[in-house]
């Protein structure tokens, strides 16, 4: 794989060059936190951050997104007809996305891009984007990516991996899209950086000490997990807010709403959360997940069991630690997973072990 050396003195100039053919998005510090925003001409991404407060999943899955538009004007021949919303799916590059977050997008893709259904809104945004990742040298104390199927130098879902060195970046082109981006930016100086990257990678991995236990989940009996006696204890503190699911890079649930104002309307989708009581309310008024124990169990079972069984690609979590850090009552997915994993040690299911 090609490794390109980018002198930091050339960095800003290269970004401006790349900008001529695409929009650039990167981490920006605002009110003490980082978030991914479109960069104005001359604005450099602020790469001095650990984790953005919200995950960058919104780049392909905005919290509120217009899908269709319509008019209710009776005099308009197109009254009541849903039309594709006019949107900019032009090429863009995300600079400085963390490897865990890019891996999360790859996991979410399994849901939005299946043989049966292809979500055009998500895929259009995803496909228009080149992901230029920044390897993570200073993971947080709550990062457990290495035991969640990802890692600080994880390449899944990335087009380019940047590795920070004192005077330069080592850029590993991982896909054709990545190679094209490097060319568009004029970064072409090939170098033999493999050893330096490996060294930085081992050092970063060694810094990650937090762990999630998952090895017995796949073989665990689903009903034994579902009926386990710890759910009341795990769920007690939960206030059923959407913090965990909204900050999570892999949560993909949404709710569709029509909004009409003065005869003009939009059909939009908004992030939804399985923590909200109305998430599962039927039109009859019946709610199959009526208590918070049901809802908390659902969140953990989906991430740590149902997803594992359905796709056989590990857990639906990349170990970014956002839910652990931001939960107002300190519910910790690592604790829930450890409890579930212990059940899996004893109650195994031959069929699911497959």
């Amino acid at each position: 794989m090609k490794v390109i050396k980018i002198e930091k003195s050339q960095w800003a100039e290269g970004l401006e060059k790349a900008r001529q053919s695409m929009r650039l998005i990167g981490p920006v510090a605002e009110k003490g936190y980082h978030s991914f925003q479109e960069l104005a001409p001359g604005q450099a991404p602020d790469l001095d951050f650990q984790n953005s407060r919200l995950s960058p999943k919104g780049l392909a899955f905005p919290q509120s997104e217009v899908m269709l538009t319509y008019t209710m004007d009776k005099n308009d021949p197109e009254c009541g007809i849903m039309k594709e919303a006019d949107k900019d799916y032009g090429p863009r590059a995300v600079i400085g996305i963390r490897p865990c977050d890019a891996k999360a997008l790859a996991l979410v893709k399994m849901n939005f891009d299946t043989d049966e259904y292809k979500d055009p809104y998500w895929l259009n945004l995803y496909n228009a984007t080149t992901f230029v990742g920044l390897a993570c040298d200073a993971p947080c104390a709550t990062c457990f990516c290495t035991t969640a199927g990802s890692g600080p130098f994880d390449e899944q879902g990335l087009d380019v991996l940047l590795v920070d060195q004192p005077e330069h970046y080592l850029a590993k082109a991982l896909t054709d899209k990545g190679t094209q981006w490097l060319q568009a930016a004029g970064f072409t100086a090939e170098t033999d950086g493999a050893a330096a990257i490996d060294k930085a990678k081992s050092a970063a991995q060694a810094r990650i000490t937090a762990k999630i236990e998952t090895e017995h989940l796949r073989g665990a009996d689903t009903m034994a997990l579902y009926n386990a006696d710890f759910w009341e204890d795990v769920a007690f503190a939960c206030i059923n807010c959407g913090t965990c699911t909204f900050t999570c890079p892999t949560c993909w649930c949404f709710d569709i709403q029509d909004e009409t104002s003065r005869g003009q309307g939009v059909r939009m989708r908004n992030w939804d959360s399985c923590m909200f009581p109305i998430f599962t309310v039927h039109t009859t008024g019946h709610n199959p997940r009526d208590t918070k124990i049901h809802r908390v169990r659902q969140r953990f079972m989906h991430k740590l069991k149902y997803f594992v069984d359905k796709y056989d690609q590990g857990i639906m979590c990349v170990g970014c630690g956002r839910c652990v850090n931001q939960c107002p009552v300190n519910i910790d997915i690592r604790r829930a997973s450890a409890l579930m994993n212990r059940v899996g040690q004893d109650a195994r299911c031959a069929v699911q072990e497959g």
Partner: protein, 315 residues
């Protein structure tokens, strides 16, 4: 305050052993610095997981709503005021409860500590009035008053207003504080500035509803934002919908809010939505001489009529 922990465990164990209560609601050690997790203890032998320190800012009254068991609950001043409000509003009955009073010297604000330190916070310990913060960059000490939650530093009800047991002797109440200086600062702005101020304040909101859900007052079976017939407010990220949510959420707390700070503490994006409820608290105090949750014998200001209620707004 951690000296409370031993007494709390003993008390919880005794109440459970004597079958005075079926469960005890308290806090256990969290997995992150400056975080404790509300927990429920059903067996005497589990009482040892209970802890108390300056990271118990979540309002435990929130966990009483509609419970039917006999419950032991630890209550700071603000928690106890919300328990009173819960009893007045029939969300729990007085005779179900054994209120274990916890005199409180204030809770620490993790955002203040994060803002005053460099690097990731790895460990925070407290010794009396001194808070020691260990970060990736080194160690730093603070006086507790510097890093206390804002609502705690202006709190005038640190001791529980109702209790069946006390964990310790009452602490002195603060008398020389101005609880509404921040409200006055906004009152001093002109309308344009106020509108812009709240635009900026509410801009980061992600509508996770942590503020609503952390609040013991918000127990409606279906919140107005979740109603669909009629739909009172749009569900997207439109700034006006976000503002409508915050305005109405606050208004629903009028005359009931104890300024416990749970909403602001729970917010993942650090919005001080307490400004809205504090404005209402200030008005309640000035117009009706009312502070929420101080007595089981008085009806709240907004659910009772007095002949001398101010009515100069009626033209």
């Amino acid at each position: 305050m951690s000296t409370y922990t031993d007494t709390m465990r003993e008390t919880a164990r005794r109440l459970l052993q004597e079958c005075k209560v079926e469960l005890v609601i308290g806090f256990r050690r969290g997995s992150r610095p400056m975080m404790n997790e509300p927990c429920l203890v059903r067996k005497p032998e589990d009482a040892d997981q209970l802890v108390w320190d300056s990271n118990c800012g979540i309002n435990l009254a929130n966990y009483l709503t509609n419970r039917k068991e006999k419950i032991g609950i630890f209550a700071k001043g603000c928690d106890s005021r919300n328990i009173v409000t819960h009893i007045l509003e029939n969300k729990v009955q007085r005779d179900q409860l054994t209120v274990i009073g916890v005199p409180c010297l204030g809770m620490i604000d993790k955002r203040k500590i994060a803002a005053a330190t460099e690097g990731e916070i790895l460990e925070v310990t407290e010794n009396g009035d001194t808070i020691t913060v260990k970060t990736a960059a080194g160690e730093k000490q603070f006086a507790k008053a510097e890093v206390m939650q804002q609502n705690c530093s202006v709190c005038t009800h640190r001791n529980p207003v109702i209790h069946d047991e006390m964990i310790a002797d009452p602490v002195p109440e603060q008398t020389d504080v101005d609880p509404y200086a921040d409200v006055a600062a906004i009152d001093a702005m002109d309308l344009e500035e106020r509108w812009a101020y709240f635009d900026d304040l509410l801009d980061p909101c992600i509508r996770c509803y942590a503020c609503r859900n952390a609040c013991p007052l918000c127990y409606c079976p279906t919140c107005f934002v979740d109603e669909s017939k009629p739909q009172w407010v749009g569900k997207g990220q439109d700034a006006m919908d976000v503002r409508t949510f915050h305005f109405l959420r606050a208004y629903h707390c009028a005359g009931r809010c104890t300024d416990c700070g749970a909403c602001e503490r729970a917010c993942p994006v650090g919005i001080n939505m307490r400004l809205l409820t504090k404005k209402l608290n200030k008005d309640c105090k000035e117009l009706y001489d009312w502070e929420a949750g101080l007595s089981l014998d008085k009806r709240p200001a907004l659910d009772s009529y007095q002949a001398n209620d101010p009515e100069n707004f009626i033209k």
